[in-house]
Subunit: 322 residues, 4 copies
């Protein structure tokens, strides 16, 4: 099996881990990285993507396309309080690391149209680029084999507010658009899947750290800020929504249970901006998405650990952290 | 211990069971029943309240006050598809069963003001009367010892929509008002508490039925319609949100865990009308309510079973169901 | 002709003038003044009502009932930046000036029910009391002969925001409720009627001032703050929405044109809180209100001037302004 | 003077007249026509654009770019009840009439970037393409010399609802985005400018008809459906919002008065979808647009009449109307 894919990302912390999986998993055929406004400053995210390409020893091998620098309708809101710079202060000589000329939206449309039904997109940031691509090319949704989305909660806790998860909160109009556009969507929600099944506690983090590889060191560094933040909000460990989403696409055997839901996103509430209304079949609305309900948590950890155990050497040396 | 209380109710199914508890628990000193628009037609609900007084053998002993016949701002929406007539077709000679002249809102205000700090109110329907009482008398909230509210979900599933529980959905403006008014509120949410900890499955229902008392017969009849509906929506048994709420006030030993939350209610969303935004302390909003998180489920069942086992004789004979 | 009426008011500036009309016009039979949260602090408004009764020489003759101290759902917002204390610093010995025990909502319901079809209510503040009365007694709307409401704009400019007029903005839920409740409503909007047809410029104000009566002095003093504010926002003169509304009830000959509209009030928008959607018959919605479109502006001025020319002596001397 | 411009249009009725002006006014240098979802079916609109190019005798001379086939977030809503097919049944041999390969959004971005500060865009349909272009290229707004927008009402009547004008109603998210994006915008509102100053009554229509030119015949035919609709809703004549907007760009001497406003668009209301909140400087919000308040109505009519008097011959013969 070989999975041609694009990862659409607001690269910080677990986005980096997700990119590692998309770069290093032998099943993955990563065609492009597309950048979208989200976690931290846009240009910082682009740097982070190149730093991750470097960590994977693949600098210069995968095109990076710049996409939308702000949400469709709303001003951009950062999560820098959670993520810091998004890579734990890592740095490197970025000479020659240049994104493509082609806009991310155009790259998405083009890559999907080249071989209809083959490309998968994993969207692990706000859905601005994806919504734009669907608005620009009505065929885009049906040209994809699959769209995997990290976002929302399945009638559970949000993170940025009680009601909403960050990705949908930041660009609720884009998220709403995506669920109405006819994509073959699979959703990996924050609660319960990420929050209850993909948290790495002290023991697991130690296990990774003990691997001693450059990749494990990279992982430890980029996840440090999240760990600290998570502890402040009562989560005992690092959270891995984005890498889980990539993993579920590449390793479907990690999926325990998914179900059809009608998913729509609130854009108009006073308290509920970005809330994902996920209806499970009793309110008369037809399913438009598969929502992941349970994963093989241990399997997912093992998957990442094995990936990080690989003796990959960075393309260039990293600078000492500032 | 003796608990002076008023039950504010849209009497149908489990509201009847809740009233039985408030009428028969020796710890309860039920000062009044106040009626509010909700589950089924208002006049039907009033009948159901008198039928329940009759089942408890206390016809004529507790005043029934009529309150608001519709929500504060929105048209009334019924849940008759769930509840039918709300009492499984029970009937009786209602001669002389007359509600009080005094409006429910005035009764609430008066009873609370008589001895400030002593009265508890258990609100098991939409919060219209409670909001009206607070709007009419700004002292009403602080005159109460406690306000127990059945409503909302704690970052979980709704019932009438994916986002919302029925009581808050029907009158979201009232619910919003109540949480801003300074009441000493305890909330018993639909999910997880009711939905996961207060469902009576086949076995428990059989145990009650086997009691053979008139009260058990009354219980079985009034709960039949809910049981059928619940099965259609995937809940294996009858749900007891309202009687659980009364029980938690009268028998605090049934409470396993509650926590402070900031609760607010959405009135403006397209998908989220009546959604309860319950924030658990990480979003910078101060707690304004205690939300019940876990109850002694077996203890609650035992409490109701023992209550229904009592050899209470109806004040008047019930008519054969139509 | 004799018009039994209640004026529901947030007494400040033109509310005072409106009360003068209701107190002194020989056609008016003012049964009660009911107070509602609005322009300035509630207790300040009550003082202003007594000051106005005094100016009219009728202290002690008309009952004053206290109503809701805040809007139905939202926190109270003042317009003290417009109105100052609402009476230009006037003061008096208020000994013995006590409001009634009975709540304004109950007084409204009672007075309407006493002789169904006879009482008119003129609502010149936020509609909280009126909505509460309709919620408490579903017969209240049809027990009235007429409800005259000052509020909204007829597809024109607001004042407190571009979209909204103050009375509807402060309690949009109440306003929405009133237009759905079946009242025989006549609306006097801010724009165009008040803003373009009931402004008193320098010349008219001088004409009133020159009358030299105590009433004219009272008028000049209470309107001074509005005059100053209006000039800052580009209105050349004082505005008289409330007194115009009373005048139109008492002197229907001042009405030039009114038309049927479907009126509803926005409670959910981000920019449009309290916006009055007035549909003129082409959007398929049936009329639920008569909206005043044109008045006899000169006639209205003459009416007030003649009223203020009357040699009425205050019940008690006013204190020198602070 | 020579004005390089693009017209972004949902071509039907007055959009055709607007295109005629942009095609025939010697001051206009029309670089492209970009198509956006709006009045009637998208493909029908494209036909109408080619029919208009034909009427102007310029078939094949101006590129037509296809843009978004639906609004950013919402499903498309047509105004076919107003416009019919949009050209009064006109037809022709469309052989060889092909739109460009390049998407309208890309064309807009490219043409603006080619010579920054020179291009004007006249947007006379929903603002979907314009918002997309700004989302794709943050420089797009500042690369334009001017953006002229037909849409909204200046605190006046809407048309599709009491609150909203069609263009903003159909894609309120796009309109909101445009006013936040930093464009040098001039707005030509429906009310009062179009509704009260750009209506052609029987006399003017007769004057045009009497011209006897092919262009006058084209005008008469395409405007017939609007005329009929307008009469049904109480407007005595045809309305010319779109051609007025083009005219104001090309002939600034037709402008009598414009003023700075803060314009924002409601996306969240229950009654006010697409409402343009236009604040005139007293609510503390800085101006982000010039709003046209008064035009030289007679001058505008004269301008169009003279244009239609020109003896232009269609590129191809029109077919007899079906
Ligand atoms: Ca991410
Ligand atoms: Ca209930
Ligand atoms: Ca007032
Ligand atoms: Ca148009």
């Amino acid at each position: 099996m070989n999975v041609p894919l694009v990862v659409d990302t607001d690269t910080a912390q677990d986005d980096c881990v997700a990119l590692l999986a998309a770069l290093l998993d032998p099943r993955a055929d990563l065609r492009a990285i597309t950048m979208v406004a989200g976690n931290v400053g846009f240009d910082r995210q682009v740097r982070n993507a190149f730093l991750t390409l470097n960590a994977a020893g693949r600098l210069g091998e995968v095109p990076v396309h710049l996409g939308c620098r702000r949400p469709l309708v709303r001003p951009w809101e950062s999560a820098e309080n959670v993520h810091g710079d998004g890579v734990g202060g890592l740095d490197m000589d970025l000479t020659g690391c240049a994104p493509e000329e082609e806009h991310a939206v155009d790259a998405l449309v083009r890559l999907a149209a080249q071989r209809p039904g083959e490309l998968s997109v994993v969207a692990i940031g706000p859905l601005t680029n994806i919504a734009m691509a669907a608005a620009k090319d009505p065929d885009f949704p049906r040209n994809l084999r699959a769209l995997y989305v990290m976002g929302g909660s399945n009638n559970g806790r949000g993170n940025i507010t009680a009601a909403a998860e960050f990705n949908f909160y930041v660009d609720p109009e884009a998220a709403k658009t995506v669920f109405a556009a006819g994509f073959p969507v699979t959703v990996v929600p924050w609660d319960p899947v990420t929050l209850r099944q993909a948290v790495f506690g002290t023991e697991r983090l130690a296990e990774i750290s003990a691997l001693g590889t450059p990749l494990a060191g990279f992982f430890t560094r980029v996840c440090a800020a999240t760990l600290e933040f998570d502890r402040r909000v009562g989560i005992e460990g690092t959270t891995h929504p984005d890498s889980l989403t990539v993993a579920l696409l590449l390793r479907p055997e990690l999926l325990r249970r998914a179900a059809g839901y009608h998913v729509d996103v609130e854009t108009a509430g006073e308290l509920t901006r970005g809330y994902a209304a996920m209806s499970w079949g009793v309110h008369g609305r037809a399913a438009n998405a598969a929502v992941v309900e349970e994963v093989d948590a241990a399997g997912f950890f093992g998957y990442l650990r094995d990936l990080l155990a690989r003796p990959v050497v960075p393309s260039r040396p990293f600078a000492a952290p500032r």
